[in-house]
Symmetry: C2
Subunit: 427 residues, 2 copies
Amino acid sequence: MKEWKAEILSIGTEILLGNIVNTNAAYLSRELAALGVLVYHQEVVGDNSERLEHALKESFARADIVITTGGLGPTTDDLSKETAARYFGCRLVRDQKAMEDMRRMMEHAGRKMTPNNDKQADLPEGSIPLYNPNGTAPGFILEKDEQILIMMPGPPSEMEPMFREQVRPYLKRKSQQKLVSRTLHLCGIGESAVEYRLKKRMDELENPTLAPYAKTGMVDLRITAKAGSEEAARNLIDPVEEEIRDQFGDYVFGADEDTLEGVLIERLAELGFSITTAESCTGGLLSARLVDYPGASRVLKEGFVTYSNEAKEKLLGVRHETLEKYGAVSSQTAMEMAAGAAESAGAQAAIAITGIAGPTGAVPARLGQPEKPVGLVYIGYYLDGEVSYEECRFHKSRRANRENAVVRGLNGLRMKITEKFPRKTDQ
Amino acid sequence: MKEWKAEILSIGTEILLGNIVNTNAAYLSRELAALGVLVYHQEVVGDNSERLEHALKESFARADIVITTGGLGPTTDDLSKETAARYFGCRLVRDQKAMEDMRRMMEHAGRKMTPNNDKQADLPEGSIPLYNPNGTAPGFILEKDEQILIMMPGPPSEMEPMFREQVRPYLKRKSQQKLVSRTLHLCGIGESAVEYRLKKRMDELENPTLAPYAKTGMVDLRITAKAGSEEAARNLIDPVEEEIRDQFGDYVFGADEDTLEGVLIERLAELGFSITTAESCTGGLLSARLVDYPGASRVLKEGFVTYSNEAKEKLLGVRHETLEKYGAVSSQTAMEMAAGAAESAGAQAAIAITGIAGPTGAVPARLGQPEKPVGLVYIGYYLDGEVSYEECRFHKSRRANRENAVVRGLNGLRMKITEKFPRKTDQ
């Protein structure tokens, strides 16, 4: 089985100026990984023939497949195609179907063909055309001496369907190897702790491989196996997945497409519970995260943003004395917020967040108490009659502290549900 | 005046696997362009010492400055630093301040130092440390024989402040040329309309240059001038700024560090008004955006997430008949939400958002009415006794539709305030 190596070469001065983020490279890398094609390099060059030719040479010295995006539009004078044709020693010929497609599209849009449009229909002789139903510039695949060059237009709305519908099937036909991966999502445990516990195992494992990825407040563990069939690859993955689930238990909240909010919402729906939120420093981020999950309406009816003390009293029934005595950022306030929100919404579950997101600390509620530092957050929980809290100390930017608080709150409630209402499979 | 050339080298297997999008490269490219530093190449390599060393050699053959991000965490065995030290022929030494910072941070977070954490405090001998208040791994600047290597950690929440507060001032000191830029923020007008009106002017202008950048629901126009002094550069910028403000009027909501939410909040505070929010499909994103601005507490006391019809009735007093007759996604409901939220919160201003964020359309409120399409959003406004609405149709993903709705709502209220309560300078 041949191991393919590919490189991604993005062409566009606007990427080098930082005007656009190179999402194409991420998309292609992900798709290629899923096809078992290794990507060791991504590169970006401007709309410059000389530098592009140099980059093509370099890339083909290391890889079998080079995929480019961009540089095919009418404004760049077909620089990429001409450079590619020169590199492969062939000439450009006009593709009649591409020409007709383009005419029809321009007519449909009520635009006139300009001479610089015509050139977009030129393709290297002997190449496989990649027609573009979503734009004017076609792409192509050029094979020569075990080297494969795939050039596609830059706009993701044109490139992604072109890859999905034409390039992926082409690569699948060429390759015999199947690569399957499964990603386990962990929350409640730090990246370095996960790494520390798995370091030896990660070094040992070759097929499948095991790799960690940190996300805000979470860690992903990806298990990737190669085999002759998808089933054989999955059989390699299963025992490693089981091993990790045994080792990390409830820290593992899901796999692959699962999200923390999705897992929590599905579990609440199973229990017939609804949830509400009471937010101070996060200002609605928590409820917005829940709403991110399609189907949130089954369990989330309403949420409260209570930024001021008055709103905490009025909407959530937090006692004036509690705010006076302990301050808005306190375990007592967090718990009263959670219980009050649940009561007001008639919900069986609630998460409340109150904290100092930054940039400056809070004045003490009473003289003599120490200042409450930036990053101090209290999360209050209400679950089926029980109230509890968690104290967190974050140390990042205002925005990162808030995002971490949201993840902590979602995961905190998830863990409490797992403990209080274990499923058969959880036991 | 020397023209600097820089290359950006991102280190991380997770980028090559497409697990994360390389926003760091876009950020750095934009920042370097603003400093007058040319970027001809961006490159991504995995956590692999040999390939990193090769990339460093290649980059320094073309450029004076190489900036790397990533590969400094505890999990990669400090591969990047070791490779850099070897390339520059120096050894790694433990930095005491970095060590103390890290200890304090871990303590603060209630986490234990693991042995793989220690190595993060090692830096190449003779380098300028870049301490990291937002994470554990410090970065550094290493200068040798006219070559400058700048290594920073990968997470944007650590890298961006490190660049802004330490690297940018360093690069500014090194350079003799003063490059000053001013960015004007526009909202309420599309990117192509801005481009169309400015195309000729942008082509004409050389110093200062004028360039547009599209953001979610907004357009930035950046004016950049080069001169021997900052004052001289600013004198070049001023007339172009005035020209743009004349041409685009109230579409220009601010400059440089100004944000849409910040401008709105400051204007509300000047008027002595408070604001509240009522959100359905955006689920708290709007209030969270307001809370993003430090000092939001002066005008935002509370907000409502009313996802269900019952919550709209109960918390905002939307009439049952309105929901029955026109549906939750209607101008009538949006206006009642805004008015009801303002009344409940005792606020002089309110923004309400109700819409179909996707992924599927809504069933009609009454038989025979057409289905409401994904992306249809109604924004209700309340301002000092007056109620109004805006209908929007967005065509992007669930998340993008919601973000666009939030921007539209903030800007809609801003424009209404400008119209109803013009400042002297607005007239």
